[in-house]
Structure formats: C-alpha cells, structure tokens
C-alpha cells in the first residue's frame, strides 16, 4: 500500500447537472479536484452534495455535463468500470462475508492473484488485521467504518469517495477517525472526496473545501481562506458564526485603509479585505445593495481601560454571558438594536457580566466585506 504510486489525475466536473423530474438537485457545477488532494464537499442536507458524489461513483446518471478523470471522459461508464471506490454512509459491508472477504471483494473481482496479502495489508493499515476472520456485525461501528475504508482503498482507486462516513459515530470516535482518515490519505496519496454537512469536520480534514448550496457551488478554497474571506453571507454563516453589520457606504482616504460607514460610525477596514473588484470612491458613497461588514465572534475584543487604543470601537450593553470552560460567549446589544456575538478565551482576562457597558474593538485586517445581497 505504501509503495509510491503516480499521483492520480485531476477529477474534473464540467457543467454537471442532475434533475429529478422537475427538481434540480445539481445545477451545472464546474469543479476541478486536484489529484492526490483531500477535498471536502460541504453543504446542508439537500444541497446536492451526495448526488454529485454518486454521479462521480457512477451510481447516478447525470442529466447533462461531463465527468473527466485525468484525460478520460468517464461520464458514460458504469460504476463497476470506474477506478473510483466509495465508503458508503451505511458502510454497506456484505454481512455474509468475513472481514477479509469484504476487503478482498474488489481485488477478486479484478482477478488479483495476491488478493489475500493485499487485503491483509489494508487491514493492517486500519489496525484491524486481528479481526480478519470475523463477520462485520461482530464489530463495533467504528471498526465497521474502518473495514469499509480498507475495502475501498485496497483497490488503489484514482478517487476515493466518502459519503458522510463518520455520521453514525459518536463525537469522540469521530474526532479520532478524522485524524486517522487524514493520516491514511497522506500515506496512500489517493484523491479523497469527502461529503459532509459538518463544517468543522470539513475544515479539520480537507485541503480544499467546496461549499454547496441548492445545487450550486457557493465557494471553493482552503479552509482558512473560506473562514477568513467568505464570499457570501451563506458561507459566512455556514462556516462558523459571523456578526454582519449592514453598511451605508465607504469613503477612501487613500492608502492602506478605507472607511466603512455603519449607523453613522466610521469603521476602518484594510483594503486587502475588500472583495476583489470592489471599487470604493473617495467620497462617502451610498452602496446600492446590502453590503455587510463581517466580524467573527472571536476576533472581537472587549476593551479594558489599560488596553492599547483600537482603530475600531463600538459601545454596547452585555445582555448575556455564557461560560463553557474554554471560552465565554457574550451577546452585546448595539444602540441600533443589533446583538453582536463575542467569544473571549478563558485566558485569565477579566470577564464581563450581564448589564455591563462595554466597548468592543477589532483589528482592521480581521473583518471582511460581503458585497452580496442575500
């Protein structure tokens, strides 16, 4: 398994579409998944991510569009002809076969003479070699999950598809498996496409995350990019929490920073944080659509009397403080009625209490601008 293999080709989806009668499940997506990467398709249920995965596996036929694996167009091929393997959400282990026979199934289909040795190696990779003779139902959920993974990767496919494979596991086991999956992916170098609705899971594991919504791709990028520079309000709210301040306009004093105006208050924003292509005039210019300034709860600070002055200041009233051990989450009510969420780490700094008047501050390079109406 650990032998060096050529990096598999990229997986390309071209205008891929799937309709179910008059419902559009996948609405013409274009996507390139680089060979050898850990890619996550993230979105709420019903966004078309599983349908996309099933089309790549060959279990669902596209209404239109193309699927290319390396240089080959595999759109018209059947599931059993594709060098793509799947870890199913329900694991779909064959209950009448032993663990070893389950893992060896694909190898035997392809008439591999040394299927037994390869299957045992795959079981060693997922640390289940001692369970080879058992039946799947004699194993725990986490072990079954690993058997399903071994059964797929043993075939050394060009692309491995994971359909919410950790959904049935409890939280602690899920964390362990996330790390394990990442380790295995780095070890075997196969392209992994992981479908999930858990944003934390997607960000923890994947090199690249594609956020899907209503059959379309909302944004594709590295986890940190998506989190710090979401392109849409949907992404801003789906990946973690965001405080969105509606803006009335911008003014541009020139230089590294521009000023955004919200409720008559000027807020300093680094120019680099503006969406690409956004033009800001030197005058206070009213913006036509709903433009928002977004600030993550953990980027907001509660300013104390001894803190250095902050470029951005918003005064408000603490309406709620909830302590969860790692951090305290505050709700701070603004004069215009909006409540901002603030998360402060439990690092020994003084805590605010309900009813306190506080001033919030943040760095100009820690806020993002959303130019899109929702």
């Amino acid at each position: 398994m650990a032998t060096t293999r050529a990096t598999p080709g990229d997986l390309k989806l071209v205008q891929l579409t799937r309709n179910f009668e008059d419902f559009v499940a996948v609405a013409g997506i274009d996507l390139v998944v680089p060979g050898g990467s850990f890619f996550a398709l993230l979105g709420p249920s019903g966004c078309g991510k599983t349908t996309t995965l099933r089309m790549v596996a060959g279990l669902e036929e596209p209404t239109s569009g193309q699927i290319l694996l390396g240089a080959d167009d595999i759109t018209g091929t059947r599931a059993y002809q594709r060098k793509v393997n799947t870890v199913f959400q329900s694991y779909a282990l064959f209950p009448h076969l032993s663990v070893l026979d389950n893992v060896g199934f694909g190898l035997r289909q392809r008439k591999m003479g040394d299927w037994r040795r390869r299957a045992m190696e795959a079981l060693e990779l997922v640390k289940l070699a001692d369970r080879a003779k058992q039946r799947p139902r004699q194993l725990s959920g986490g072990m079954q999950q690993r058997v399903a993974l071994a059964r797929a990767i043993v075939n050394e496919p060009d692309v491995l598809l994971l359909d919410e494979p950790l959904g049935a596991l409890d939280l602690k086991l899920r964390r362990e498996m996330q790390i394990e999956l990442k380790r295995i992916q780095q070890e075997v170098g196969i392209t992994f496409i992981h479908v999930t609705h858990d944003q934390e899971e997607a960000m923890t594991m994947a090199d690249t995350v594609a956020v899907m919504r209503a059959g379309r791709l909302e944004q594709v990028g590295a986890p940190a990019d998506l989190y710090d520079h979401p392109a849409t309000t949907f992404v801003a709210n789906f990946l973690g929490q965001s405080n969105l301040l509606p803006l009335e306009g911008f003014s541009d004093p020139g230089g590294e920073f521009v000023t955004a105006h919200a409720h008559g208050i000027g807020l300093v924003v680094e120019r680099a944080q503006l969406p690409a292509g956004m033009v800001v005039t030197t005058q206070v210019a009213a913006v036509d659509s709903a433009v928002h300034l977004g600030i993550r709860p953990e980027k907001l600070r509660i300013l104390g009397p001894n803190d250095p002055p902050s470029a951005n200041r918003l005064g408000g009233l603490v309406t709620d403080a909830s302590f969860n051990g790692v951090a305290t989450t505050y709700l701070v009510s603004m004069p215009w009625g909006q409540e901002l969420t603030v998360t402060r780490p439990n690092d020994g700094s003084p805590r605010a209490h309900r009813g306190d008047e506080v001033t919030l501050g943040w760095d100009p390079n820690q806020a993002f601008v959303l130019a899109e109406a929702d």
Binding site: A79, Y80, V84, F88, A92, F105, K133, Q134
Partner: protein
C-alpha cells in the same frame, strides 16, 4: 408452590408439546401393529410386516410417488416464479404494482373449496382434461403466493446500498446479484421452497377437485383408504415423513451451531 411458580412455563410447554406430538406417537406406534381385520385402530401385536413391505397396499407407493413428484415440480416452478416476482415487487415501482400485490394475496385468502371448484370450472371450459397437469397448475397457483410473500420480506430487508457497493467494487450487475444479493436472499428462497413443497404435498381439497378419475395423490389415497379400512403402510409413510422432517430440522440446527462455534473459536485465536 415456589417450585411450581418457577417451573410453570416449562410444565405448560411440555404439556403443549405432548398434546401436539401425541398423534405422531400414536401413528408411529401403530405402524408396528398387526391388526385383525382391515382397520388399524386397535393394538393387537407387534410386527414389522408393514415396514418390510411398504408397497404391499395396492396403489400406496404409486400415489406417494405422484405426490412427491408433483410437490417437487410445483415447489421448483413456484420458487423460480415467486422469487422473480418478489424481486420485481420489492425492488421496482411500476404501473399495476399495488394491484399485483393484492392479487398475490388472493390465493392465500381464498377458501380452498372455492379455488378448487372454480379451477375445475375453468379447466372444463378450456377443455383441459383433469390429471397430473391440472394438479400441477393448481398447486403452482396457490404455492407461488407463499413464495412471493416469504422472499419479498427478505428482499425488503436488504440494504440497497449493498448492491451498489458490489457495483462500486467492480462487480457487473449479474455478478453483484450472484455474489451479494442471492446469498443474502437465499434463506428466504429456501423457506419459500420448503413451504411450497409442504403445502403441495399434503393438499387434499384443491387436488381432489382437479385430479380427475384415475390420478390419485397420497392424501387422496389415505382419504380413500380410510373409507375401506386403513392399511398399516399409511402409518409407515407417516412415521417416515415425521422423523424425516425432524432429522432435517435437527441437521440444520447442528450445522448452524457448528458454524457458530467455529466462528467463536476463530475469534478466540
């Protein structure tokens, strides 16, 4: 009292078992009888005569052979047809599916007298002479429903992802069927086939309507013989069937236990 309370379930169970098994024991005992006269209802003397000459009663072995032949063919045909129908009903949505489900249920719900007489009417109207063929058609008709019902339950409990997983692991649709689906549905098919065999073998009412004058199955022979006296050979056949069925069940249990012990032993290693 405390002892009774603790063992009441066992005692009642044994009483019920005794009640059910009593006729079989009587049949077995009287197969070793040497009756005076034509009726084998009174114990007279131990004898192996009937066991040594099972075909001595005229027509018995012929009727037994016919019944076995009809039951095997009816079970085979209805198992193949019923299994295919069960897959179609369990897997696919098509026009007329609900109606088919209802129609499959009818032969099980219809009183046998009604089914037998209406079949006879049909055969006469179509000009098909009564005999082996009509018996077979009738038996396939009412056993196929039971096969469909047993197999369909099994198909419905199957995770459709299993077949997709087989396809994903390079199995063509027919390979996926024979390597994954069929082995998992097989217990249901076997149960359906055994049920069909048993139902066909001991059917009297429908058979009697459609057998014609000269075709005699084993249940018909027993009924006919009972009018004129009961040959001991009937008890011999009954005893063989009872202990044969018992042996098959016991053998199945033994294999199951052996497999379970085997897998547990492998676990321990």
């Amino acid at each position: 009292m405390a002892w009774l309370r603790r063992n009441l379930v066992v005692i009642v169970g044994l009483l019920v078992m005794a009640y059910i098994l009593m006729p079989n024991l009587v049949v077995t005992m009287f197969s070793f009888n040497k009756p005076n006269g034509r009726y084998n209802y009174e114990w007279t003397q131990f004898s192996l005569d009937a066991w040594l000459n099972p075909c001595a009663s005229a027509g018995l072995c012929e009727s037994l052979g016919l019944s076995l032949w009809v039951a095997v063919v009816a079970a085979l045909v209805s198992t193949v047809m019923g299994t295919m129908a069960a897959f179609a009903l369990g897997r696919y949505r098509f026009r007329g599916r609900a109606a088919t489900n209802l129609l499959v249920f009818f032969p099980m719900a219809t009183p046998e007298v009604v089914m037998g007489s209406s079949l006879l009417t049909l055969f006469i109207a179509m000009g098909i002479p009564s005999g082996q063929v009509t018996i077979l058609i009738a038996h396939i008709l009412f056993t196929v429903s039971f096969v469909v019902t047993t197999v369909k339950a099994r198909v419905a409990s199957l995770d459709p992802a299993l077949e997709q997983a087989a396809a994903d692991l390079y199995a063509t649709p027919s390979q996926a069927f024979w390597k994954v689906t069929f082995p998992l549905v097989a217990p249901g098919i076997a149960a359906g086939a055994l049920l069909a065999f048993a139902l066909s073998f001991d059917d009297y009412i429908v058979t009697n309507f459609n057998a014609g004058a000269t075709t005699v199955t084993f249940p018909m022979f027993v009924w006919g013989a009972a009018q004129r006296g009961t040959p001991v050979q009937i008890n011999v056949v009954g005893t063989v069937m009872f202990f044969g069925a018992l042996a098959i069940v016991g053998f199945g249990q033994l294999i199951g236990a052996r497999l379970r012990i085997g897998s547990r032993r492998k676990e321990a290693l």
